[in-house]
C-alpha cells in the first residue's frame, strides 16, 4: 500500500493521488467537473420545488396536495369539459334541427351518425350488441325489418319512449295475448295456427293443420298482424311472412310465442339522455343499412323535410 500519511501529487495534472495502486497504476482523486456538480445541485433544487408545487408526499391518511392544486383527476375533468365544450355547438345544432331535416345537412348528419356510434357503445350495446346485430329477443338494427318503423322520426320516438314501459303513457305498447297459457285457444288450435304461420312464411308447405289454422288466424291474429300476416307497424305487430324472426322462426319458437306471448321491453331514453344524444342515436341506427325514408303522406306539415330525406337517401 502507498503511504497515506503524506499526500502525493501527480506532477502532470496537479491532482492528488487517492492512494490506491494496482501494478503501478495509481488512482487520481480528480474532482467532479463543475458543470456536472452544478447540474446535480440544480436537479435537487428542482426536485424540492416540484414536491412543493405538485402532489408528492404520502401522509398517514392523505398526501400533500401541492401548491398548484394539480391532480390527475382534475386534469381529466378539465380535458373532458374542454371536449364537451368543443362539441357543444354541434350538439346544439343537432338538438335544434328536427330529425327529419337532419339528412338535408350532410355534415351535421355525419356528425350525428358518428356521435350516435359512440353513444350506442355506451347505452345500447348491452342488449343490441356492439355491432347492433341484436340477438334472440333483441332486434337486429342492421336489417330492413322494423317493428315500429325504420324512418328517422319513428326510430327517434322509439328511443325516446321505449317499449312497454309500465308507467309511461307514450311508450310503444303491443300486448299480444298469451293464447295458450290463458286458454284463449285450445292446444290443438295453437298447433294449427303455428302450422299456418309456418306456411305463410313459406317455411312449410300447406297441409291439413295449416288449413285448420287459417280461420283461427283470421279470428284471433289478423286484427293485429293483418289478414295476410304482414304485420301492422302502428300496432308494433311484426310481419310474420318475412325471413326475420325476433324470437326464432322454427315451430317450437313460434309455438312458445303463441302459447305465452312475448313482451320484450326497452327503457325509455327520453328521461335519461339529452335530446341531441337521442337524435344522434336515431341517426346512427338509421345509418346501419336498414334505414327507411320518411313516410311522406302521413304528416303534411313536414312534407318538405320528407322530400329532403328522400332526395338524400335516394341519390
Amino acid at each position: 500500500m502507498a503511504d497515506e500519511s503524506k499526500a502525493q501529487i501527480d506532477a502532470a495534472t496537479g491532482t492528488q493521488f487517492k492512494g490506491h495502486e494496482w501494478d503501478g497504476i495509481q488512482e487520481l482523486d480528480t474532482p467532479l467537473p463543475r458543470w456536472w456538480l452544478w447540474t446535480f445541485y440544480a436537479t435537487i433544487l428542482f426536485a424540492i420545488g416540484y414536491t412543493i408545487a405538485y402532489p408528492a408526499w404520502p401522509m398517514i391518511s392523505d398526501y400533500t396536495r401541492g401548491a398548484m392544486g394539480w391532480s390527475s383527476r382534475g386534469a381529466l375533468v378539465k380535458e373532458l369539459a374542454a371536449r364537451d365544450a368543443a362539441l357543444a355547438p354541434i350538439h346544439k345544432a343537432i338538438a335544434d334541427t328536427p330529425i327529419e331535416q337532419l339528412p338535408g345537412n350532410a355534415q351535421l348528419m355525419q356528425a350525428a351518425v358518428e356521435g350516435g356510434r359512440a353513444a350506442f357503445k355506451v347505452h345500447c350495446v348491452q342488449c343490441h350488441g356492439s355491432g347492433a346485430a341484436g340477438s334472440k329477443g333483441y332486434p337486429n338494427l342492421n336489417d330492413d325489418d322494423w317493428l315500429w318503423g325504420g324512418d328517422l322520426t319513428t326510430i327517434e320516438k322509439t328511443i325516446i319512449d321505449g317499449v312497454r314501459n309500465p308507467d309511461h303513457a307514450e311508450t310503444r305498447q303491443s300486448m299480444m295475448p298469451a293464447f295458450g297459457r290463458d286458454q284463449l285457444l285450445t292446444p290443438a288450435q295453437v298447433n294449427d295456427v303455428v302450422a299456418h304461420v309456418r306456411t305463410i312464411s313459406r317455411q312449410d308447405k300447406p297441409g291439413a293443420a295449416s288449413q285448420r289454422g287459417a280461420p283461427v288466424f283470421a279470428d284471433n291474429c289478423a286484427v293485429c298482424h293483418g289478414p295476410a300476416g304482414q304485420g301492422i307497424r302502428s300496432l308494433g305487430a311484426p310481419n310474420l311472412t318475412d325471413g326475420i324472426w325476433l324470437y326464432g322462426g322454427d315451430a317450437d319458437a313460434i309455438h312458445a310465442t303463441v302459447q305465452n306471448s312475448r313482451q320484450g321491453v326497452m327503457p325509455r331514453w327520453g328521461d335519461k339522455l339529452d335530446k341531441a344524444t337521442i337524435r344522434m342515436l336515431a341517426a346512427y341506427v338509421h345509418s346501419l343499412g336498414g334505414g327507411e325514408a320518411a313516410p311522406a303522406p302521413e304528416v303534411p306539415a313536414v312534407a318538405d323535410a320528407a322530400n329532403g330525406v328522400q332526395s338524400q337517401t335516394g341519390q
Binding site: A12, N140, D143, D144, D145, G243, I244, G289, G314, Q315
Partner: protein
C-alpha cells in the same frame, strides 16, 4: 502518456488555407460543373409543368403535406416510395461506379461542400485579393479597413447562404406562392426555420469549416478509401519523374542530378484543402485536380512536358516507375469492376423505368364489415357490408364502376342508395388524385356456401379504361 496529458492539447487549431487562383483544363471543368449544379439547384423549383387543373404545375415538387412527389411527368404516392428508395440505391451504386473509375471525382467536383466552398473562395479572392493578399490581411491587426473588408465578405457570403437556404424550401411548396408568402411574413414557421438553419450551415460550412468538413466530418472519404483500388484514378505526383526537386538553375548547373519538379510549391498554393500532393495519396486530397493545372502551367513555362502531377492509377504508376510510357486515362475506365457496377446501376434504372411504365394508376382495396359479419334481410337474402377504397392516382376525376364477380344473384348498392336501386354495378366518380371511400352492401340469396370467395371488380369507365380487382369473401349464416 499520463505525464503528457496535462501538456498536450487534443485540439489542433485550423491552419489557414488560402488557395491561389489558377487556370487550366480542370479549373474550367470545375467552373462548368459549378455552373451546372448551381443552376440546377436554383432553377429547378421554378420550372413549370402543366398537369391540368387538379395537380400542382411545379415540375419538381415534394409535397409533404399532401404526401405526393412530383417529378416532371412522374407522380409518386407514398406507397410507391420504393421508386425513391430505388433512386437512392442508384445514387449509392453510382457513387461506387464513379469512385472505382475516377476516384473521388464526386468530392472534387460535384459535392455541395466543394461547390459552395469553391464559390466562397472566389468571393474571398474577389474581395481580399489572391493568396498573398489574403495571408497578409489575415496576419494584419484589426483595423477599420480590415473590419470593413471582413464585414463586406461575410455579407456576401451570408447573401449566398441565404439564397442557398432560401431555394431549398421551394422544392416543398409552390415556389411563386411560397416566395410571396415568405417575403410578406405569411409562410409557415417551418419555412423560416429551414431557411435560417440552412443559411447558417451554408455560411459556416462554406465560409469557415471548408476542408475540415471533408477531413474530419464527412464519412465519405473513409468509405471511398475502401472503394478505391489500384486501378482507380487518383491525383498522383510522379515522384520518379519529379525527384530530386530543384530549381531550373540548379538543374542546369548539375545536369542529371535533379528531376522535373522545380519545387515552386504552386501545387500547394492552389490546393483548396491545403495539402502537399507530393507527399503521396492522402485523405485530404479531394482530387479537384487544381494542382495538375498549376503544375502543367509551370512545366510549360520551364519547357518540360506536362503531367508531372496527373490523374494516374496505382498500377500505371508502378509501370511508369519501371519505365513504361504513360497510359491514356480512358483505358482505366473500362474494366470488370466498373462494368459490373454499371450493369447493376443500369439494371436497377431499367427495372424502375419498366415498373414506372407499367404501373397502374387506379387501385381498389376492400375491407369487410366484421360486426356483424352478415345480416339477414326480410326477404331472406343475406347482406354483407364492405368498405371499398378506390384510389385514383391520375390528376383528373375519373368515372369508375364497381361490380362483383363470382356470386350468383348478387346485387350491390351503397349507403347513399336504397336497396330498391341495387344493381350489378355501382358507379361513382373518384375525384382527381385522391381516394374515394364507398360503403357497399352486397346482397345474395341465402342458399349457398357459408363462405364464398368473390371478386370486387373496379373498372374505369372513361376511354382510357383500366381496372383492378380484389378477392373478398361473402359470409352466410350456418
Amino acid at each position: 502518456m499520463l505525464m503528457l496529458a496535462g501538456t498536450t492539447d487534443l485540439y489542433e487549431k485550423r491552419k489557414g488555407v488560402y488557395p491561389r487562383a489558377v487556370d487550366g483544363f480542370y479549373r474550367r471543368l470545375k467552373w462548368a460543373i459549378m455552373a451546372i449544379t448551381l443552376t440546377i439547384y436554383w432553377v429547378t423549383p421554378w420550372i413549370r409543368w402543366d398537369r391540368g387543373p387538379y395537380a400542382p404545375d411545379q415540375a419538381v415538387l415534394i409535397d409533404l403535406a399532401h404526401r405526393r412527389f412530383y417529378m416532371f411527368s412522374i407522380e409518386i404516392w407514398p406507397q410507391e416510395f420504393y421508386y425513391v428508395a430505388g433512386l437512392l440505391v442508384m445514387a449509392g451504386i453510382g457513387l461506387f461506379l464513379v469512385t472505382s473509375a475516377v476516384g473521388r471525382a464526386w468530392c472534387g467536383y460535384a459535392c455541395p461542400q466543394t461547390v459552395w466552398t469553391d464559390l466562397y473562395q472566389h468571393v474571398e479572392r474577389f474581395i481580399d485579393g489572391d493568396r498573398n493578399a489574403q495571408i497578409r490581411l489575415a496576419k494584419a491587426p484589426w483595423s477599420v479597413g480590415k473590419l470593413a473588408r471582413r464585414l463586406f465578405k461575410w455579407g456576401v457570403w451570408l447573401a449566398i447562404a441565404f439564397a442557398t437556404g432560401g431555394a431549398w424550401i421551394f422544392y416543398f411548396a409552390d415556389a411563386p406562392t411560397l416566395q410571396q408568402a415568405f417575403w410578406t411574413g405569411q409562410a409557415a414557421p417551418v419555412a423560416y426555420a429551414t431557411v435560417g438553419v440552412l443559411t447558417a450551415t451554408t455560411f459556416v460550412l462554406g465560409g469557415f469549416m471548408r476542408e475540415q468538413v471533408c477531413i474530419y466530418m464527412c464519412p465519405w472519404p473513409r468509405i471511398q478509401t475502401a472503394m478505391l483500388d489500384e486501378k482507380s484514378l487518383v491525383v498522383t505526383y510522379k515522384d520518379w519523374r519529379g525527384e530530386k526537386r530543384g530549381s531550373v538553375k540548379k538543374a542546369a548547373a548539375h545536369p542529371g542530378e535533379y528531376g522535373d519538379c522545380v519545387d515552386c510549391d504552386q501545387c500547394v498554393a492552389v490546393c483548396p484543402t491545403g495539402i502537399d500532393i507530393r507527399n503521396g495519396p492522402q485523405i485530404g486530397c479531394i482530387t479537384c485536380a487544381l494542382c495538375i493545372d498549376a503544375c502543367d502551367k509551370v512545366m510549360a513555362q520551364v519547357g518540360r512536358s506536362r503531367g508531372l502531377i496527373d490523374y494516374c492509377t496505382e498500377d500505371d504508376a508502378q509501370a511508369e516507375r519501371q519505365g513504361a510510357a504513360p497510359r491514356p486515362m480512358m483505358k482505366s475506365l473500362l474494366r470488370p469492376r466498373t462494368i459490373a457496377y454499371f450493369t447493376v446501376w443500369a439494371g436497377i434504372g431499367l427495372a424502375m423505368l419498366f415498373a414506372l411504365g407499367s404501373r397502374t394508376r387506379i387501385d381498389v382495396a376492400v375491407q369487410q364489415d366484421r360486426n356483424p359479419i352478415f345480416v339477414r334481410l326480410s326477404d331472406g337474402a343475406i347482406r354483407n357490408a364492405y368498405t371499398v377504397k378506390i384510389r385514383n392516382m391520375e390528376a383528373r376525376p375519373r368515372p369508375m364502376a364497381v361490380s362483383v364477380a363470382g356470386i350468383d344473384g348478387a346485387t350491390l348498392w351503397t349507403d347513399a342508395m336504397a336497396r330498391e336501386e341495387a344493381g350489378a354495378t355501382v358507379a361513382t366518380t373518384v375525384p382527381a388524385d385522391s381516394v374515394a371511400r364507398l360503403r357497399v352492401y352486397v346482397a345474395a340469396p341465402a342458399a349457398g356456401p357459408q363462405r364464398a370467395d368473390f371478386d370486387f371488380v373496379l373498372r374505369a369507365t372513361d376511354k382510357e379504361g383500366g381496372g383492378d380487382r380484389e378477392t373478398m369473401s361473402f359470409e352466410r349464416p350456418e
